[in-house]
Point group: C2
Chain length 200, copies 2
């Protein structure tokens, strides 16, 4: 059995990553989605193991020392990161794992796992991104400006990714991600075991 894929999914807020990923999971029920670990306290409605793995600062720092994180960062005095163990356990069982992470994290994961598949989800244009952010009606115009600036910064680091998915239509975008996963499984480099059996 081949090892499962590690799929990195990034893209600016408002690109629709979450909605697209939900549709991808409906098409590929075996797909695992990694849950980040954090030292910040749960907000109302957040469940441990669902929204985040809520762990203590001591535990987080011990895991850092044991090289137990695929990537981590510190925001506003709290740690956020991806635990290596569950990702590796899934992959060893042949299950594909998605990490929904930011560009900085993605670069760190790609260094540790050069066989990871990296996908950047983008809105069809910055104008459309702005429209989507305004339509949410939950953010001030200042917050929208900040998110647009962030989006530009993230787009400027897109060269770190192998694939680009333009989310104009959710169904199309989800289909493209499914195709990327299926195609990557056909890569020669991921089929060494079969080639060994064929005595190539």
């Amino acid at each position: 059995m081949s090892k499962g894929l590690l799929i990195i999914l990034s893209g600016p807020s408002g690109a629709g990553k979450g909605t697209v990923l939900k549709r991808v999971r409906e098409k590929l029920p075996g797909l695992q989605v990694s849950v980040s670990a954090t030292t910040r306290l749960p907000r109302e409605g957040e469940e441990n193991g669902v929204h985040y793995h809520f762990i203590s600062r001591d535990d987080f720092e011990r895991t850092i020392d044991q090289n137990g994180l695929l990537e981590y960062a510190c925001y506003c005095d709290n740690y956020y990161g991806t635990l290596k163990a569950p990702v590796e356990q899934w992959r060893e069982k042949g299950l594909d794992v998605v990490l929904e992470i930011e560009v900085q994290g993605a670069v760190k994961v790609l260094k540790q796992c050069p066989d990871a598949v990296s996908v950047f989800v983008t809105p069809p244009s910055l104008q459309e991104l702005e429209r989507r952010l305004i339509n949410r009606r939950t953010e001030t115009s200042e917050a929208v400006s900040k998110r647009l600036k962030q989006a530009r910064a993230e787009l400027s680091r897109i060269e770190n990714y192998q694939y680009l998915v333009i989310n104009d239509d959710i169904e199309t975008a989800a289909g493209q991600i499914v195709s990327i996963i299926e195609a990557e499984k056909c890569r020669l480099s991921r089929n060494r075991e079969f080639l060994g059996e064929m005595q190539v």
Copy 2:
């Protein structure tokens, strides 16, 4: 509009390339399949422009001199090759083009077109390949042995390919080729125009 893909499809006789490609064309009606040029005479039932482009030795050699072939070879005193012009015209129109060629030809095309996508179609095992060749009942056991030897030789050059499609089931294999085509269209390097528009 993006340029169409150039897809190289190879694999030993008996791997079922032809059947799988037929199914892929049903799924992707816009897909173009290149027809080889040859200087040999048409056999009964062979149509010009369908089975081959039948051209004179003079024309073929002139085309070689004009660098008008993506690849060519000489077998039994006859030339066989892939004309560059129709392939380029299709690709410029945004149409994807498949070349069903042998490993030697594939290596030549990949040198001229490093952006080509290369797919090797293989039977699930050499035993299965032998079984399929025997079941055809059109070949002597000597011919079957020769084909198996050829298959081993082709498999030994599989490292030149990016993707491996194991044809155990036609529908699955065709679906994998469609996924490879869709995924390759999402490659960052094939979306420079979009990134330009996004001002990345």
